[in-house]
């Protein structure tokens, strides 16, 4: 049973007061809060099991190695992949950069095309833009329609010449919440570019819905651990084994080698080849606890809860729109939308809105949400964004809406 009050009790930070008010945390899209079990798992590890992995023959090292391997299995199971295809990184940005450096630098040549969409977070946009400049490849951006859906006709037009070597797309917009029909978009690209390699930014998907990488037509999936109840400093790259095997390492150093000679070095097997140096072991253990927590809730339930919240928020915000107080961006149907709502209060800058709401204990994000190309396509410089997660409630949305009404009064 999905019981929000019970869930809330698991998150110590939710007891905090901000400016004398109860904390209303609506910025899980940036990073989620962490349940007690995640905090405890990391603390326990340091107190009882701490040793470097893959190094020692002694019990502690064997234990810590086993613990990390178990999390790898867990994460693999959580998204439908194989453990050897799971590479631990610091965050989704590092995962995407790994693909850029390891796969991109070797395979992208002059005259090739890299296709991205206007929905992307900067981390799935800038690396490809930079790579194209370096290689003399062409960087193409698929447009969105007025509600922020990927524009199929723009996509068709940009892929007709059959030169697309890599397609980088998000599964859910971090800024405005659009859920992308990944299969349909990739099919459209593959029509004229059958060998295209597909990189999916699943940072706003994996924490919020069940997902099976085997059922998706993608080669790489990147996401962050800290947006899914795990600690900061953890991220994941999943890659198809066949593709990973043909890639060179991104970083060199400890733990990623097989044999080191004075003139030649050979690489370790997957996934260690891509994990140079001591990883964030305690963080990975924490991520494992986060996966357990979400698995216990059930990802179907998580999605249902967030869908209900966003539906409710859209209704309430519609009333604010009718009063001419706010502008809401993005698709109107909750089926096509993740747990995010982006808006502006008329006549007030997004930073000022967030500042006033903070006075009431509400945490919302303001600015361009690391998605400047998308935000500016709505003819605004910035937006306010509220994102929902497992611990958020309808009464928090009521409170948000009530306090939004206070915002313009400050500036009149």
């Amino acid at each position: 049973m999905f019981d929000v009050e019970k869930i809330r009790a698991d998150f110590p930070i939710l007891k905090r007061k901000i400016n004398g008010h109860e904390l209303v945390y609506l910025d899980s899209g940036a990073t989620s809060q962490k349940p007690e079990s995640v905090l405890r798992a990391m603390d326990d590890f340091y107190r009882n099991n701490n040793a470097n992995i893959h190094r020692g023959v002694y019990d502690l090292s064997v234990e810590s190695t086993k613990m990390v391997d178990e999390v790898r299995e867990k994460v693999a199971k959580f998204i439908g992949g194989r453990a050897e295809e799971i590479i631990f990184t610091r965050n989704a940005s590092e995962s995407l950069n790994l693909v850029m450096y390891s796969w991109g630098k070797k395979n992208i040549k002059e005259g090739d095309v890299i296709l991205v969409t206007r929905l992307e977070h900067h981390s799935n946009f800038v690396p490809w833009q930079v790579l194209c400049k370096e290689k003399g490849a062409s960087f193409r951006v698929v447009e969105v329609d007025s509600e922020g859906r990927i524009d199929g006709s723009s996509l068709k037009r940009l892929t007709e010449d059959g030169k697309v070597k890599l397609f980088a797309l998000t599964g859910a917009s971090n800024a405005i919440g659009t859920l992308v029909d990944i299969k349909k978009m990739v099919e459209l690209v593959k029509k004229n570019n059958p060998r295209v390699v597909v990189v999916l930014d699943a940072s706003q998907m994996v924490p919020h819905m069940s997902m099976d990488v085997n059922k998706l037509p993608v080669d790489f999936v990147a996401f962050s651990g800290h947006k899914m109840l795990g600690p900061t400093g953890t991220g994941v790259l999943w890659g198809k084994k066949e593709v990973l095997l043909n890639m060179e390492p991104f970083m060199y150093g400890g733990d990623m080698i097989s044999e080191v000679g004075l003139t030649e070095t050979t690489w370790a097997d997957l996934p260690n080849k891509f994990e140079a140096g001591t990883p964030d072991i305690a963080g990975i253990i924490g991520l494992g606890a986060a996966v357990d927590y979400l698995t216990n809730l059930g990802m179907g339930e998580v999605r249902t809860h967030e869908k209900e919240l966003v539906e409710y928020a859209l209704e309430k915000f519609k009333l604010l729109e009718d009063e001419d107080l706010v502008t809401v961006y993005g698709v109107k149907k909750s089926e096509e939308r993740g747990g995010a709502i982006a808006f502006n209060v008329k006549g007030v800058h997004s930073h000022d809105v967030a500042q006033v709401l903070n006075n009431f204990g509400i945490c919302v994000r303001s600015g361009q949400h690391c998605a400047a190309p998308l935000v500016t396509s709505f003819n605004v410089m910035s937006m306010v964004r509220a994102t929902f997660y497992v611990y958020n409630t309808k009464s928090e949305i009521d409170y948000l809406v009530e306090k939004i009404k206070e915002v313009p009064k400050v500036f009149i």
């Binding site: 007030v348 800058h349 997004s350 930073h351 000022d352 500042q355 006033v356 903070n358 006075n359 303001s366 600015g367 361009q368 400047a372 935000v375 500016t376 410089m381 910035s382 400050v410 500036f411």
Partner: protein, 131 residues
């Protein structure tokens, strides 16, 4: 942090807002967190300290600025445009981020420092490009 009356006043009635006809220096500066852009234009006093060519001794005669921004960046630009008239570059450099906070009433949320110092950063740049 509350919005002080003075901030709201400068936000609603920004001083020295607009474009200068014959500016000595024009500089644009943007805030990466929200995309806000400010243009700062200055006129440098020609008569005073004419003996020296040192950049540090140049004195500001007039500042005009324009841009779309939040209450903090707008008020800061407005207040700064009044504050720095008659100051040398050396004096302006000395203001520092702390001086900007003081100018704004002593309290700026750390998350808003980029907003508060936007026009100030433009002003510092204005002298640098003058080399």
């Amino acid at each position: 942090m509350d919005y002080k009356d003075e901030i709201i006043d400068h936000y609603k009635n920004p001083r020295n807002f607009g474009e200068m006809e014959e500016a000595d220096v024009t500089i644009n500066e943007s805030n990466s967190s929200c995309g806000d852009v400010v243009q700062v234009q200055i006129k440098i006093q020609k008569s005073k300290n004419s003996k020296t060519q040192n950049k540090e001794d140049l004195v500001i005669e007039e500042v005009m600025w324009r841009g779309v921004g939040c209450a903090i960046s707008t008020a800061a630009a407005s207040m700064l445009s009044e504050k720095v008239v008659g100051m040398t570059f050396a004096e302006i450099e000395k203001i520092g981020d702390e001086g900007i906070v003081k100018m704004m009433g002593g309290e700026v949320n750390a998350g808003r420092m980029k907003c508060a110092t936007l026009a100030y950063r433009a002003l510092l740049k204005a002298f640098k490009t003058d080399d």
